[in-house]
């Protein structure tokens, strides 16, 4: 096994290329790869395809960057099930880009996307599911409805998704890329296994011996991972089980910078947000430093209350 520790800067510049299909881990605003997205925006990206089941802030940041700095960041296509923020509101950048016809997209469901990543992870070209047998998803996606050769009943075949690079945030990893995930597994293992390369950020970077003390806890195995970066608060202002709960104010504040643009308003507020929080800082740690210690502790305490444990 190889030591895969490196800086976020190095990982993004090595593994995210123009035109890549980028698989995004987490679920809505839980364990989204926020720190990785910040670094991608700082370095700039071109003609990406984003693939995810349900996502919130990760695509909202990448797409917001495209709206604020189209010369520096661009997304070509999105394959998704849901882009929104549940209790925190609608995805403003999704509305902006889709309603203006600025990106291609392909609608799937959560299970469709998860099964597509699973097919990719199994090394198979497609997977049968019952999801899109009726309704319009089959009409606006690459779904093929066939008669099952064994039962003769209709079944939907979905193409595997094999991203060029997976962006994943986990609770704990070792230097070789073995990962432990708490709370929802989301589809992180499948995306990592399906992708050609995987960048992992983690709340805790621990010794290999400790990480594998219960080997069945390993959710993502080392061969699937190319870069490991220790980034506490790497999914913030989203939530990460056992570490911190949502900072809903920060999510709503960011959405509030994009909302005026949906109605034809100026990009000034959004540009200012990016200048202050991403382009104006060197690292994700500098962004986290902008939050008050009191707020960060409050979000940690809220989460500690949800999953009470002895220290």
């Amino acid at each position: 096994m190889k030591d895969k520790r490196m800086t976020l800067k190095e990982a993004v510049s090595r593994f995210v290329k123009p035109g890549d299909n980028v698989g995004i881990g987490g679920f809505v605003n839980i364990r989204q790869p926020i720190a990785i997205c910040h670094e991608m925006i700082r370095q700039g990206f071109k003609d990406l395809t984003l693939s995810f089941q349900s996502a919130g802030m990760a695509p909202e940041l990448l797409a917001g960057a495209m709206m604020a700095r189209p010369d520096h960041c661009s997304i070509k296509r999105i394959e998704l099930a849901y882009w929104g923020h549940e209790a925190f509101g609608l995805a403003q950048a999704w509305r902006y880009l889709a309603e203006r016809g600025m990106i291609e997209f392909e609608d799937w469901s959560n299970y469709n996307m998860s099964a597509r990543f699973k097919a990719g992870a199994m090394g198979l070209p497609f997977i049968p599911t019952r999801g899109p047998l009726a309704g319009d998803i089959k009409n606006t996606s690459r779904t093929k409805i066939v008669d099952c050769p064994f039962t003769n009943r209709p079944i939907a075949l979905l193409p595997a998704s094999n991203p060029n690079v997976a962006l994943i945030h986990v609770q704990a990893a070792d230097m070789y890329g073995n990962c432990i995930i708490r709370g929802t597994d989301a589809t992180c293992a499948e995306i990592s296994m399906a992708a050609a390369h995987t960048i992992v950020t983690c709340e805790q970077l621990v010794s290999h011996e400790l990480l594998v003390s219960n080997p069945k806890d390993i959710m993502i195995p080392f061969p699937a991972v190319d870069a490991v970066i220790h980034v506490p608060f790497g999914a913030y202002p989203g939530a990460c089980r056992r570490h911190y709960y949502f900072n809903g104010d920060a999510i709503r504040e960011y959405l509030g910078c994009i909302a005026p643009m949906v109605k034809g308003g100026s990009a000034d507020g959004l540009k200012a947000w990016f200048d202050e929080n991403i382009f104006g800082v060197e690292t994700f740690e500098d962004y986290i430093e902008k939050f008050s210690t009191k707020k960060l502790i409050a979000d940690q305490l809220a989460e500690a209350y949800h999953c009470e444990r002895l220290a």
Binding site: L90, S109, N110, K118, G135, G183, T184, A239, H306, C307
Partner: protein, 266 residues
Amino acid sequence: MTVSTDYTAQEIIVVAGAKILEDNKIVFVGTGLPMVASLLAVLTHAPGLIPVFEAGAVGPPLKHGLPISVGDSKTFTGASYVKGLNGAFELTQRGFADFGFIGGAEVDMYGNLNSTMMGDFPAGYGKPKVRLPGSGGASDMAASCERTILIVPHDKKKFNQKLSYVTSPGHLDGSPGARQKAGMQGKGPYRLITTRGIFDFEEKSKRMRILHTFPGETVESIQENTGFELLVAPDVTQFAAPTVEEVRLIREVVDPNGAFVKRAAK
């Protein structure tokens, strides 16, 4: 039981949703008001309800209150079974979910739901008038749960003969055996809860039928606000207004921060 005089449209939906849920059933719960209604049911008549959340939690006791996401940490604490999305949906596709509980933006007379886009389809798919979040897990629940319970705000523009986009298939075109012919499983939409009443889908025609009117509504007023002809059950009754205690539970215990149940403007 004292009847509430200041309940909101969302609060009566939540109370109706909770009452439709049966104790000890496995319910696949979508985001938003279905989560609120499920928690109210657990706190009232259905303490043995087994919620499934699509991010992968099965059967949590929800002791820490209302999840604000279907992947919220609160859905995992104390859960009986914890996986990811594939785990939850495979269990559902295998046929273990008694109910799917989902919301949508637009519905037709056969209980087909739209949560994808508003506008001209298919020509305008790539550039919709209004882009909605997308299916999430709703279309999977619609295809595989034994029965589904739907929530849609009741508005003439949202109750249409033809949807902009069919995200979550219900009874399709209402023809006999349509769901099974398409390869889906389960009996399809069971109840629809709106801001004006509760509906079922008539056994033979699978068409939307008024079952209960909410206080202040009549069969006529509901029909006036619906873009297609509704069937009317032979014994339509009025659904009782929420009690003071139910409204207190929603405001003080279930959703004290107004995450999904918006507070009425004072």
